[in-house]
């Protein structure tokens, strides 16, 4: 019995055919994964299902329980029991958990807000999803992982029968992924249907009952889990087999470029340090992986070393055996350090600016004379580096917001390449980008290390951490939990280190 049937859906945007006769059928009570590279048409298909693209803007029909639907807006699709949880979460940060869950749907008693009922319901929902936080906690105080769970609670409150999760684990650490998985299993046992969109094939294979693969706006195939394996899915997604998932190369040398000793950082106005007692060394041409759970202080370590925060640092940092204090990103950039943030739209790109201006933003001093820009040199440099990086863009004057996630990430990387860095910090460099673009980024890492650039790579994906690093430092509870060499690295060792510190805290 199918809950959803999308029949021969076609949709065109000016100049592009986004969907071409797509068929998508979901059975009631199953978890159905939707896979495909970025730009394959997953988002467009889901926007049609949720009514963001109204029913007269595309061809083909949408059936829910064999009833033909005409969704004109999100309101219509929600009335039909469909909820989408987007990659970029749609919560109001300044409001409480309860207020967010009931946003637009507030319980009312005689025209007044019924706070008691609201908080009571919220507590039950929080219990159900396994969160032990007060219902009046502000959402901004929660991490991304917990916010994701709040979104799910919100969907449950709306009595949705079909929940669509768009890259739900992109921002989650492994431990949080497990919680999410068990919640999904539980929802399934209650008869709620899920559509699960993800690039992470391990998760897909773990949780999905069936898998539909899109490529270039067409349905390639729908397969049951029993028939599926990673290679087959990848082959269908990219239309070719990927032989080597992690093209690791050993380029590390003996020359220590960065050495951090007993480093702690206390942010202005905070009482507890963001990170403390951290020591590590980084060698020329090496990839130092930093693993750990979300909230273990990995990003905070990178950002504070990069000079992004105001506050007090203790311990010592040596660059090429010279002691340095980096008080601002400007000083860090001046010392040959680059930082590619995990949140490229917020920290990496000026989204309203064009490709060329974004690319040269950190290296304007290389192309200017007493502050006056050499615009021809700018175009030349941009063209060279974006070609090297394989950025796919209609022109260098295209607004960067119009590019796909993978291409945006390549623009951020291009920006830092133009500064000719000695050290490049990559924070979740492959988050939310497709398999093909990931490969290109791995190859770039190799190319950089072969030129002697030292790389610090922070990642939540264990396979990537193990697959690409020369050495791995694991963080837990805002400090170093241990260091593992490439030869000794496996998932258990790292997870043990990452979770070891948190046992007594729970």
């Amino acid at each position: 019995m199918s809950i959803l049937h999308m029949n021969n859906i076609s949709k065109s945007f000016p100049g592009v055919k986004a969907l071409d006769n797509v068929n998508f059928k979901v059975d009631e009570g199953e978890i159905h994964a939707l896979c495909g590279e970025n730009g394959a048409g997953k988002s467009t298909l889901m926007k049609i299902l949720s009514g963001v693209h109204p029913s007269d803007s595309h061809e083909g029909d949408v059936y829910i329980h064999d009833q033909k639907q005409h969704f004109e807006s999100i309101r219509d699709s929600e009335a039909a029991g469909i909820t989408i949880i987007y990659q970029e979460l749609a919560l109001v940060e300044e409001l409480s958990v309860a207020e967010n869950i009931f946003l637009g749907n507030e319980p009312v008693h005689n025209g007044m807000m019924d706070w008691n009922r609201m908080h009571d319901r919220t507590k039950r929902l929080l219990d159900y999803i396994g969160l032990t936080i007060p219902s009046n906690e502000k959402v901004k105080n929660l991490g991304v992982g917990r916010q994701q769970l709040i979104e799910i609670a919100k969907a449950l409150e709306k009595q949705s029968s079909l929940i669509i999760l768009d890259e739900p684990t992109a921002a989650l650490a492994e431990g949080e992924v497990d919680i999410l998985m068990s919640i999904l299993e539980d929802l399934k046992s209650k008869g709620i249907t899920c559509i699960y969109i993800s690039h992470k094939l391990k998760e897909v294979l773990h949780i999905a009952d069936s898998i539909t693969i899109l490529r270039d706006g067409k349905t390639i195939e729908t397969i049951a889990r029993s028939e599926a394996d990673e290679n087959r899915i990848i082959a269908s997604m990219v239309g070719r087999e990927l032989t080597e998932l992690f093209p690791y190369q050993n380029n590390s040398t003996d020359h220590t470029i960065l050495s951090v000793m007993e480093y702690s950082f206390l942010r202005k106005k905070d009482t507890d340090p963001m990170v403390y007692n951290i020591s590590f060394e980084l060698k020329k041409g090496e990839v130092l992986g930093i693993g750990g759970l979300m909230g273990s202080g990995r990003t905070e370590l990178a950002m504070s070393l990069f000079g992004s925060y105001e506050g007090e640092a203790s311990g010592s940092v040596y660059l090429n055996n010279e002691p340095v204090t980096l008080r601002s990103p400007k000083e860090a950039v001046g010392h040959g350090i680059g930082y590619v943030s995990e949140d490229r739209k917020r920290y990496g790109l000026v989204t309203g600016m064009d490709v060329s201006k974004n690319t040269t933003l950190s290296s304007l001093s290389h192309i200017s004379w007493y502050g006056i820009l050499n615009k021809e040199q700018e175009v030349f440099n941009t063209r060279q580096v974006t070609r090297k990086m394989g950025v796919k863009t209609p022109s260098l004057q295209t607004i960067v917001n119009k590019l796909s996630g993978g291409n945006q990430q390549k623009v951020v990387l291009s920006k830092w390449l133009l500064t000719s860095p000695d050290i490049l910090i990559l924070d979740e460099p492959t988050r939310g980008i497709d398999v093909g673009a990931k490969q290109e980024i791995y190859h770039l890492i190799n190319e950089l290390t072969s030129e002697g650039v030292a790389i610090i790579m922070i990642t939540s994906e264990l396979s990537e951490l193990i697959g690409m690093s020369d050495r791995i430092m694991v963080m837990a509870e805002h400090t170093t939990a241990g260091e593992v060499n490439r030869e000794d690295a496996d998932q258990e060792t790292i997870m043990k280190l990452a979770t070891g510190g948190s046992v007594h805290a729970e």
Binding site: P329, R346, L349, V350, M353, K357, S362, L364, E376
Partner: protein, 375 residues
């Protein structure tokens, strides 16, 4: 295809020009051609300079994601300082100008410091500045109008360039436009970059030059280029250059576009923000000098509400109050549209209150056009 794209991006700019031409046409018809006389065009140019100078500075303030509500009071105060120095203390014109601009820079520094280094929102600091500066003006002038400046000072706002100099400057301007284009094309060829076709590149310049010459010829039929128009043109060119061709200008756009990404790209946000208010202070002082010179007096109410006119001009010109986008040319056109409405409606003897209503409506219309064109 590239041409098509750039055309699309410029639709807004064209819409602005079309709106301006429409307004001019309407007024020309209603005034039986009086609106378009050389004399009235000259007047229009003189009237728009004060708002124009403020709008040039305001554009960069707003691009950087800030706002400045104090420029009207700052203009009044610096104009008052200029008059006091000359009328009461007998300073000569050159020193008056230097001291007045220095005062503008200092007051800009004061506001910029609070905003950049103390983290107080620009809206608050400049709202306070609006009150403080007006208060200081009242205090130091004792509430009197300070009048009768030296002829040399009056020349700033009231004189005209001799025809010959006007044409020579125009010719120099056109010549440098072409020289810069030729050099840019040479550099591009050396680096093997794709350039626009010769026809398009030089064709555009030829059109601009033609328009320039027509305007100068038209104005020269009356008295010649007014001095304040020359000042505005030079300042506008300077700021167009700063915004488009310097690292500082690029920094302003990126700070307004995405504050955090700019910081993490290694841009010194505090210093750049401070600088934008210093420049705004200097420009307000220039506007103050022009206004005092034109009126031959400093009054305590000089420049009241000018900050809003300047902001309106910038917004009509397509600059987003969110920061990160905007052009000087657009703001100048915005100022021109606002002034044309004032000027044309006065010629038609329409009561003043209508001018305010119409300008308000145009502001809403312009932003609505902007928003709906982005969808």
């Amino acid at each position: 295809m590239l041409n098509k794209l750039s055309f699309k991006m410029n639709i807004r700019a064209y819409a602005l020009i079309i709106a301006f031409l429409l307004i001019v046409t309407i007024f020309t018809i209603l005034t039986n051609g009086d609106f378009l006389t050389s004399r009235n065009i000259t007047n229009l140019m003189r009237q728009m300079t004060v708002i124009g100078v403020l709008a040039v500075g305001m554009t960069s303030v707003i691009i950087s994601g800030n706002i400045d509500l104090s420029v009207g009071s700052l203009l009044g105060l610096t104009g008052g300082i200029a008059a006091i120095l000359q009328v009461w203390l007998g300073w000569n014109t050159v020193w008056v100008i230097i001291a007045t601009i220095a005062a503008g820079v200092l007051l800009g520094l004061w506001q910029g410091w609070w905003i950049a280094y103390r983290g107080i929102p620009a809206f608050i600091v400049t709202l306070a500045g609006m009150m403080i500066f007006r208060g200081i003006l009242l205090g130091i002038s004792g509430g009197q109008t300070i009048a009768s400046l030296d002829p040399g000072f009056m020349a700033i706002g009231q004189s005209y360039l001799p025809y010959s100099i006007g044409y020579i400057l125009t010719a120099l301007f056109i010549l440098s436009l072409f020289t810069l284009k030729i050099r840019s094309r040479q550099k591009s060829h050396k680096l093997e970059l794709v350039t626009e076709s010769v026809f398009v590149d030089y064709g555009k310049l030829a059109v601009y030059s033609g328009l320039c010459l027509i305007l100068v010829y038209y104005i020269s039929r009356y008295q010649g280029i007014p001095m304040p128009m020359l000042i505005l043109t030079l300042l506008a060119l300077l700021f167009i250059f700063i915004l488009n061709n310097t690292a500082y200008g690029r920094h302003l756009y990126s700070i307004g576009g995405n504050h955090e990404a700019a910081l993490l790209s290694g841009i010194n946000i505090k210093r750049n923000t401070l600088m934008v208010f210093v420049l705004m202070g200097a420009l307000s002082a220039v506007a103050g000098i022009i206004l005092t010179s034109r009126l031959n007096a400093a009054t305590i109410s000089a420049g009241e509400m000018y900050e809003l006119d300047a902001i309106a001009a910038v917004v009509i010109g397509g600059t987003s109050l969110m920061g990160g986008t905007g052009t000087i040319i657009g703001s100048i056109l915005g100022a021109l549209i606002m002034t044309s409405i004032d000027n044309g409606m006065s010629m038609l003897n329409v009561e003043t209150f209508w001018q305010n209503i119409v300008k308000g409506m145009i502001l809403i219309l312009a932003v609505w056009l902007d928003i709906s064109s982005k969808k």
